[in-house]
């Protein structure tokens, strides 16, 4: 490089005129990609449309090209988010006492352990066991347990309402109801130990069920006759989808009370219980209006 050019180069750097970025190279126009635009195609089959009216399953949603429509995908993601949030939620400490329950806890010490160790969630912690022995009414007909299960959201929303409603329904039928208790980090089989300690005829646990798409607020009820450690799922009767869009809590309470009554009458539960002798209860066993899918996403 010539001396003059070296001097001017140095002067340019000294004046701060050196551009930190190279000059913009003009690009040739880029042709648009060969994109195909698909028009949304709603479901054509009348059978699918009819079926879709009777379920919250993803039926009759149509397609765009080979894919779902955007609103369907967004709805799916929103529903999945609701389920994830429900699993991640925890029952706050002191919730039981604030709502008039006797607060119990399983042997689980953390939420992560609760998810990973179902066996620990089925047994009472030592302190809680002492509490049950000291404070709970014994030799009752029905011991009702409200618990968080896999959806603390559901427990907090309708757990107390359902527990109270079941207790009222049982009392109406002339059954004695035990001390209301609420358990944290509870699995279904926790009712065996609590029922065994209170020597109740029937133990009934009302707990948040495993969240599905869009339903993080569903409660399930598991009912067992002569609860004791070692009872299996074959010894239990259960009722699921207790929420506003499924079986409403008040209606569920009537049916659960009838179920408990039937267990005491037949002295058994689970697969050996004859539901045909249950008689007519609220809501019946006939036609039920289909669930309606909640719209979580605006189009």
């Amino acid at each position: 490089m010539s001396r003059t050019r070296q001097l001017m180069h140095a002067l340019r750097d000294a004046l701060g005129g050196a551009d930190p970025l190279p000059p913009v190279v003009p690009l040739p126009p880029i042709p648009p990609p060969p994109a195909r635009v698909y028009t949304p195609r709603p479901e054509q089959s009348p059978f699918a449309a009819l079926a879709a009216r009777h379920t919250t399953a993803l039926l009759g949603i149509g397609h765009v090209g080979t894919r779902y429509a955007t609103d369907v995908v967004l709805q799916f993601q929103a529903e999945l988010a609701v389920a994830h949030a429900a699993v991640a939620a925890e029952l706050p400490e002191g919730w039981a006492e604030q709502n008039g329950f006797l607060g119990l806890i399983s042997r689980v010490t953390s939420h992560r352990e609760f998810l990973l160790r179902p066996d620990l969630g089925r047994r009472l912690a030592d302190a809680s066991l002492e509490l049950v022995r000291a404070r709970c009414q014994k030799n009752v007909d029905v011991q009702i347990i409200v618990a968080d299960g896999l959806s603390a959201v559901a427990c907090m929303q309708t757990g107390k309402q359902l527990g109270d409603a079941v207790a009222r329904a049982c009392t109406t039928r002339g059954l004695t109801v035990g001390t209301p208790v609420a358990a944290r980090y509870a699995r279904v089989w926790l009712e065996d130990e609590i029922g065994q300690e209170t020597r109740a005829k029937v133990a009934m646990i009302l707990l948040g069920e495993r969240p599905g798409l869009g339903t993080g607020d569903g409660l399930s009820a598991y009912v067992v006759y002569e609860p004791k450690l070692g009872k299996t799922d074959g010894d239990r009767n259960m009722m699921s989808n207790i929420h506003a869009r499924g079986t409403p809590p008040d209606e569920a309470a009537q049916r659960l009370a009838a179920l408990a009554q039937a267990m005491i009458n037949q002295r058994t539960s689970g697969v050996t219980l004859d539901l045909g002798l249950l008689g007519e209860v609220a809501g019946g066993r006939g036609y039920r209006a289909p669930q309606v899918r909640q719209k979580l996403v605006n189009e």
Binding site: M1, S2, R3, T4, R5, L7, M8, H9, A10, L11, R12, L15, G17, A18, D19, P23
Partner: protein
């Protein structure tokens, strides 16, 4: 970007291996000494003066004719006219070839104007000649081999720049050509030690850049 080189464009290069004596006389040569001519037009007159001088350092050639045209390159009278016609003369065509080679190399790689405002609307020629050749040393009245700063800029920029250059180093003004010239630029030739000339050239360029950035202050 400021101070980017604006490389001169060589518009025409022609040889006359055996020029007519009348022509040689008319263009300032000596027919008893010169037979061959080399003619070049270019769009930067001051770069051409430096390049002609460069040619005299590399070959036994004389610069017999070098004159700027009026108005400058942006307003040239013809597509090949440019801003200057330079004529080299020698006793044989071989010398013209060597001289033209050095001249064109200098135009391509050394002597050039620089962009003083990043937009090419103000330009500056702060050229540093480390060692003068026969042609410019004769024009400047200096000995061949002396260093010289060859400084050109538009009128006001050149005035401010010359003041800065003279104060920046221990240099002496050999020739100052105030505007208007043929191209309406102003020119100054400074000499001193090599380092002093370099410092003067840099100060000159910096002053022109400053004026271009803030013309009213």
């Amino acid at each position: 970007m400021i101070l980017e080189p604006i490389v001169p464009t060589v518009l025409s290069v022609r040889r006359l291996p055996n020029a007519d004596p009348a022509l040689i006389t008319a263009y300032g040569g000596d027919p008893t000494k010169h037979t061959a001519l080399g003619l070049v037009t270019c769009d930067q007159d001051d770069a051409m003066y430096v390049a002609l001088d460069e040619a005299t350092k590399h070959a036994p050639v004389d610069v017999v004719f070098a004159k700027s045209f009026y108005a400058g390159a942006a307003h040239a009278s013809g597509r090949l006219s440019g801003e200057i016609l330079g004529v080299l003369a020698a006793s044989e065509p071989e010398s013209i070839e060597h001289g033209l080679a050095a001249l064109l190399r200098c135009l391509a790689h050394d002597a050039c104007f620089y962009d003083a405002d990043g937009k090419g609307t103000v330009t500056v020629f702060p050229h540093m000649i480390a060692s003068l050749g026969e042609y410019l040393s004769r024009e400047a009245g200096l000995v061949a081999g002396a260093p010289m700063a060859y400084l050109v800029a538009p009128p006001l920029e050149a005035t401010i720049g010359l003041d800065a250059a003279l104060k920046a180093a221990d240099v002496r003004a050999v020739r100052v050509t105030p505007p208007p010239t043929e191209t309406n630029f102003a020119c100054a030739w400074l000499t001193g030690t090599l380092d002093a000339c370099e410092a003067a050239a840099v100060a000159y360029a910096a002053a022109v850049v400053d004026v271009a950035a803030t013309p009213k202050r």
